[in-house]
Symmetry: C2
Subunit: 356 residues, 2 copies
């Protein structure tokens, strides 16, 4: 035992040099062992002696020192538009989990405060706080987009498609819309309304395009579309307009679970029965959907997997791979509950023009 001089009873955190002394080597060797430096040649016995010392002392590298010495910070940052939107909650969960698996910490920034978030994000990078960025909040005019291409900072876009960026991590949105339409067609619906999201947002556009394309291919009348924010109020307002302007609709496809809740509310308010008068189907499935009134038919999307895939893609960039678009696999699945049914035969039963 050569550790007689090591401060075994010290309450201090142990440093690399302590481990080195404990193992009877220099700190450079310890560092290289811990980082799996292939250019180091070392006897197996020495290696285990070092690893034992690491364990004995409970050594934990100092993140700052590491970052300073040029290595990575092993931290990522996630920018999302709205934490209270369950869609982003799931994506965040997946991303945080996967980051953890890969040994990264995850920083969080929310765009809703929109109080200089672009600036904040730029600072995270400039101050070497993170190795890379996950951006789930890029509207086409987002200031961040202007500064990213110049910087060398690795980043991916999550659930966003920034044209030509070559680093978009996305879901099979068009296929989801196709699946939703197929479900409605199988029930016999032909006049369909769509509650869409904010204009120019990539997922909005994809869902709409998927729906319109599929409708055209199926030879049914072009779906009526109204847009609203990605929340309950947005869904409520859009559905109210749809019902008022297109009394012949028999089904509504909502772009988001939050919107769908607003849609349900608007349909109830119009005095219509679900699915008797109007069927409602939603993109995004969550446990919540099963407890609505009526339980909501929805398209389950692999949101956690999206978050995980985004972290994987970002890590690949960190390891030197060129960025590339990723389409998260997993076919959309229609979870049939009780908000969809055959279309009514006659005119709607309720007083569609008189919301309470």
């Amino acid at each position: 035992m050569r550790d007689a001089d090591a401060p075994l009873h010290s309450k201090q955190r142990s440093r690399l040099i302590d481990v080195a002394n404990h193992a009877g080597v220099t700190k450079s060797v310890v560092s290289r062992v811990l980082n799996n430096d292939r250019t180091l040649s070392i006897r197996e016995e020495t290696r285990t002696r070092i690893l034992d010392a690491v364990r004995d002392l409970g050594y934990q590298p100092h993140t700052g020192a590491r970052a300073l010495a040029g290595a990575s910070t092993r931290a990522l940052a996630l920018l999302i538009p709205d934490l209270t939107n369950p869609v982003y909650s799931r994506i965040t969960r997946g991303a945080v989990q996967q980051a953890r698996v890969r040994g990264f910490a995850m920083l969080l920034a929310e765009d809703s405060a929109d109080f200089g978030v672009d600036r904040q994000f730029a600072d995270l990078v400039a101050s070497h706080r993170v190795d890379g960025l996950l951006i789930a909040s890029a509207r086409p005019d987002h200031p961040l987009l202007g500064m990213l291409p110049d910087s060398r900072i690795p980043h991916v876009f999550v659930n966003r498609v920034v044209a030509g960026s070559g680093r978009n991590i996305s879901l099979q949105i068009e296929a989801a819309s196709q699946a939703a339409l197929d479900h409605l067609l199988a029930l016999g619906h032909r006049r369909i309304g769509h509650v869409s999201g904010p204009e120019q947002l990539a997922p909005t556009v994809s869902r709409r395009a998927g729906l319109l394309g599929a409708a055209a291919a199926a030879g049914i009348p072009e779906p009526s579309i109204e847009s609203g924010e990605f929340n309950e109020q947005g869904g409520y307002a859009a559905a109210t307009r749809l019902l008022a302007d297109h009394p012949d609709l028999t089904a509504i496809y909502a772009s988001t679970l939050n919107q769908a809740i607003g849609v349900l509310s608007a349909v109830h308010a119009a005095g219509l029965r679900i699915p008797g008068d109007i069927s409602v189907i939603s993109y995004d499935d969550l446990p919540l959907a099963g407890f609505l009134h009526p339980p909501l038919t929805a398209i389950a999307m692999p949101l956690m997997e999206l978050g995980q895939a985004a972290v994987d893609a970002l890590c690949a960039q960190l390891e030197g791979a060129p960025p590339e678009d990723v389409l998260v696999p997993g076919a959309p699945e229609v979870v049939v509950r009780r908000s969809t049914g055959p279309p009514r035969s006659g005119p709607p039963s309720g007083t569609a023009k008189v919301p309470s």
Copy 2:
């Protein structure tokens, strides 16, 4: 101008030494100016020269170097049990925002993965990644609780009350239960059920205690209580049991918005009308509540403020203040919607014993 030798066109990030050269001083002076070192005496002219240089060069300190040199990391970590629970989303939002205001980054960890989260959190501290911890996820048996008192790491408990810790940041939960009961009493209810949360969880206990105390004071029969997880399924199951075992109930008070959604569903499934047969009221108000069927009466709690207060309290500790309990002000407010009304006079109308 003395900056002729400064690499003005360099694309590199500028360092402290660059700023110093640009301003014609040494880096120690720059550092002390930027950190408002009161022991430094400096001419006003020099100070502005330095600040100008900082601005001109777009200087951004290297977080790692700073942390290494003994200063703080200016990062905090937040541990929450479940991101998809909107309650925690709001708390998180408040915390992230306030951290940003105070110049801190926020790291996120979720307990749901419960894949060594305590270990992960300990690591964050041990590796000097964060200055302090916000813990919103402490069950009494949480492993983290065993290790925290020893460590000198500043931390607070958010929406949790760890007895004797002296660092609990909490809401006026008892008052909220009181307000809920007052609302029901005013409507004429006397037989009340309560859907409670997981046992031993501090908020669960507080809400229950508040309700029982207020009920006793009002002289009504002791409320019937069933517990369930803090999600829709938990609320559904608990409400189903309540309805089956206590057919005389005329109102249910749910512990969480998620649970309330399950309660609504269970009441519907039992064939009962809301509020005709059963009134439902919930702790936690969110926009979502207004779009349920029927729109849900709920107690609005200042969740974002809770998150902010937690960050404030933690920062106070970082600045050397002794930890102390904080009761976030803001009286609970009953947002009356349509899920509550006068109690029915006779027996319930539905087939309460036959959930579909």
